[in-house]
């Protein structure tokens, strides 16, 4: 009998950033820092991805990688020449759970 594969639990981190810069450059900057910290293997293993919902940036990754994703977001302080600070608003297991904060 084949072994049963466990489905990894995903978490969604709603973030808000300061500074006059779009969501896409911020998402790229967070991903760059994450890749610098954990490499390409870490990027793949963590299931790291970014998305926009209702004009807000959401970072998604597997549960064990949430601290690493928050650290990466916190390290971003400059995006395309604009001073930017990324703050986390809420961490949830579902996108629906973030809806009240979006």
């Amino acid at each position: 009998m084949t072994e049963r594969l466990l489905r990894l639990k995903r978490r969604y981190v709603l973030v808000r950033h300061s500074g006059q810069v779009g969501l896409e450059p911020v998402a790229e900057a967070v991903q760059d820092v994450f890749e610098k910290l954990h490499g390409r293997i870490g990027l793949a293993e963590s299931g790291f991805k970014t998305m926009t919902v209702g004009g807000r940036l959401i970072i998604s990754c597997y549960k064990e990688w949430v601290p690493a994703a928050v650290l990466a977001a916190s390290i971003v302080r400059r995006v395309r020449g604009v001073d930017t600070v990324v703050r986390t608003v809420k961490v949830s297991g579902t996108l629906k759970g973030l809806r009240s904060s979006v």
């Binding site: 300061s18 820092v33 064990e64 650290l71 916190s74 390290i75 600070v85």
Partner: protein
């Protein structure tokens, strides 16, 4: 009962920073600089903090003697000798971690009675330098392994740089390599330290 959060290291505090801290759920803040505005109407207690950069044992002891009692003291030890003294002196509140600090080896760990403190501002600075980043991670993980309590603060110099307490907890969790946010490092441990100092 909800947690009371503490930001242990803020460089300055004006009205906008006070209201931002209150909005994030902080109840106590320690300010290093001289510019401090009253925030009691926002439910925030402001504590003064003395920040010392010391190079030797004599330097530290001399500067500690000059201070009043019941002042929260944070020491940045520039040498291993200064670290050994700062780690065990009862008048010192916290020892500031920075990239390139002497390692927390078994000799330092044996005498460590105080609390290690790390700021997000320092984490960001270390991130740009591989050697300092490795040193920072090694110190935080060694301290965790030998049970030295660690706290994390923003080290903010303006309102923009302030971060919510849960985010600080997640940052320390990432540095320690654990899965859940280390909320004690922004609430229980610093609160106990403030209580001890203020008595």
């Amino acid at each position: 009962m909800p947690r009371k959060y503490v930001d242990m290291h803020v460089l300055t505090m004006d009205r906008s920073m006070a209201s931002s801290l209150a909005g994030m759920g902080y109840r106590h803040v320690c300010v290093v600089g001289d510019e401090v505005s009253d925030a009691s109407n926002l439910g925030i207690t402001v504590h003064r903090k003395k920040y010392l950069e010391v190079e030797s044992r004599n330097d530290l002891l001399k500067r500690l003697r000059r201070l009043e009692r019941n002042v929260l003291v944070c020491v940045k030890p520039l040498t291993r000798e200064a670290l050994m003294v700062a780690a065990r002196d009862g008048r010192v509140g916290t020892v500031m971690v920075y990239g390139g600090m002497a390692d927390v080896d078994m000799h330092v760990a044996q005498v460590f009675k105080n609390i290690l403190e790390i700021t997000v501002a320092e984490v960001i600075e270390c991130f740009n330098d591989d050697r300092r980043w490795r040193s920072l991670l090694r110190i935080v993980r060694a301290a965790d392994a030998v049970g030295v309590p660690t706290i994390i603060s923003s080290g903010a110099s303006c309102e923009e740089e302030l971060l919510p307490p849960r985010q600080l907890g997640y940052i320390l969790a990432a540095l320690k390599g654990v899965e859940s946010p280390v909320l004690d490092s922004v609430s229980t441990i610093p609160l106990k330290l403030l209580e001890d100092v203020c008595v």
